[in-house]
Subunit: 117 residues, 2 copies
DNA sequence: ACCGTATTCAACCAAGAGGTTGACAGCGAT
DNA sequence: ATCGCTGTCAACCTCTTGGTTGAATACGGT
């Protein structure tokens, strides 16, 4: 896996974890609170949180015996940054191809004004 | 894994595959061309492409014995859609919290004009 | 000092991911 | 017809992942 981005994508490549992120977007929550909706042991939830934490998507402060989990939303920008870069690049390439095809169509039936030779 | 989004995130949770997507953003390429930069068997590359294809990120048309691979960039929007939704939600919550804290500070040292009672 | 609550650690297991090698299939060119 | 090029299929291996259970830890309340 190696780099940062891989961990983030990996972390979100799981229904349960995406769901937890969605939940955390509405506010911090303890492990127990987070676990409640799922038919799954608390330990399993704890593991999921660890994955999210390792990806930097989440942080846990300690407060008495509870460990409120907090969404670190800035990390999401890392992803959109990556994605948008290539989406845009592909888009632009598509535009150029489109223009090129339009040109070729012009050459085949030359309705356009001002053509040379 | 179940749903669509999971497959897309999973597909991009790998250095090699993200690299391929980056490469494909500059234009279509055959399996051989894509494989060339990596120290890895052609079969492994083929597998990676299958993952990308199953995620809907890529399509392969057949052209003689070659199989040019094409990036389907629209799928990326699916991700940014998801991500942005929760990033924004978290952001807004943060703003409100910020405002609340400002209010509390006001209450503690009431320098402000027009205070009641 | 002890109890209950909240969470993690450790060992284990089945299934999946990413890689390998070897055999096979599709198609153009000679 | 068969050769060479391009790519996939199949079987196999190893490491990781997502889950389990049982024991341990950390801390507040009584």
């Amino acid at each position: 896996m190696a780099d940062r981005l891989s961990h983030v994508f990996q972390a979100l490549a799981d229904d349960t974890r995406r769901d937890m992120v969605a939940r955390l977007a509405t506010g911090d929550a303890t492990v127990g609170e987070l676990a409640e909706p799922y038919d799954m042991s608390l330990q399993a939830v704890s593991k999921h949180l660890r994955v999210l934490e390792d990806a930097g998507l989440v942080s846990r402060r300690k407060e008495a015996q509870k460990r409120p989990v907090h969404l670190e939303a800035e990390v999401l920008d890392l992803m959109t940054g990556w994605i948008e870069r290539y989406r845009r690049q592909a888009e632009e390439r598509f535009q150029r191809l489109d223009a090129l095809l339009a040109d070729m169509a012009d050459d085949e039936n030359p309705h356009h004004e001002g053509a040379a030779s």
